[in-house]
Amino acid sequence: MTASVTELTVTAEDRRVAWLATAAVALSLVDAAIPSPLPGVKPGLANIVTLVVLMRYGWGTAVWVSGLRVLAGSLLLGYFLAPGFFLSLTGTTLSLATLGLARHLPGRWFGPVSLSILAAFAHIGGQLLLARLWLIPHNGVFMLTPVFATAALVFGTINGLIAAKLLADTPAAEPDR
């Protein structure tokens, strides 16, 4: 006998966020499995999900999906509250903020690729700043900027293209917001 029952009403929006976050977490795991020459240089495949969500369901949903991805991804990979978690969080926060501004760019001229590249640069910029301020308080950190910037450009473009292709291949089931 339960004394009281707390009813959690699950909306369609909640289910959607959960599914999309699951997809993003799965891609985070794929990301982590890809060997990288330098910590921090990663394809960031989960950002494809963020981009698609942003274009299709709006910024609020993208924030939810990204936030859950960072949290669940770090729990699954075992770096929750470790330095990597805060680097991830800072990068995600800054790229979401950038996406929040960049999505107001005229859509005729700027597509998912632009958003992806801008977000990638914001991501790596935030991580470098946090690393400089907190983890390695020495300007030597910035010597690696060219490597990270190149990775941001290359992976940002590729992820943006994949997101654009996904958006073009799957017509919106409901009107865009």
């Binding site: 005229p106 005729r108 700027f110 690729v113 801008l118 060219p146 910037a149 450009l153």
Partner: protein
């Protein structure tokens, strides 16, 4: 290839170009303080000589125990001979990276490599 290019809108090319420019702009950071450019020779804490690492030359630095001989070659420098008892600075061999230093403590002589910017405050071995 063409079907992928079709996904790019005009502004996207602009952003890619901007990103590439940013990468190009940051490239010099890779060489920041990376080259050995000068050697600084100190005697008793005072700068005895400061020289570029472009030509071959020798320095004889007088100290309390005798004379320390230092050789400079293009891109590197070393202590050739020192009157100190343990010869640590001689055995260190060629110094070629910014921040590297050989200290002949008994004779109070040191030779240090410097780059354009100071990469380290000190190095310990």
């Amino acid at each position: 290839m063409r079907q992928w290019a079709a996904l790019l809108r005009p502004g996207d090319w602009l952003v890619i170009a901007g990103g590439a420019a940013l990468v190009g702009f940051t490239l010099p950071l890779l060489w920041q303080g990376g080259f050995a450019e000068r050697a600084i020779i100190r005697q008793n804490g005072q700068i005895f000589a400061e020289t570029d690492l472009l030509t071959r030359r020798e320095f004889a630095v007088p100290g309390p125990l005798g004379t320390t001989h230092i050789a400079i070659e293009p891109g590197r420098a070393r202590v050739v001979a020192d009157p100190g008892p343990r010869q640590y600075c001689v055995r260190q061999g060629w110094l070629a990276r910014p921040g590297e230093i050989a200290i002949c403590a008994p004779n109070r002589v040191s030779v240090q490599i410097a780059g354009r910017t100071k990469a380290y405050d000190s190095l310990s071995y």
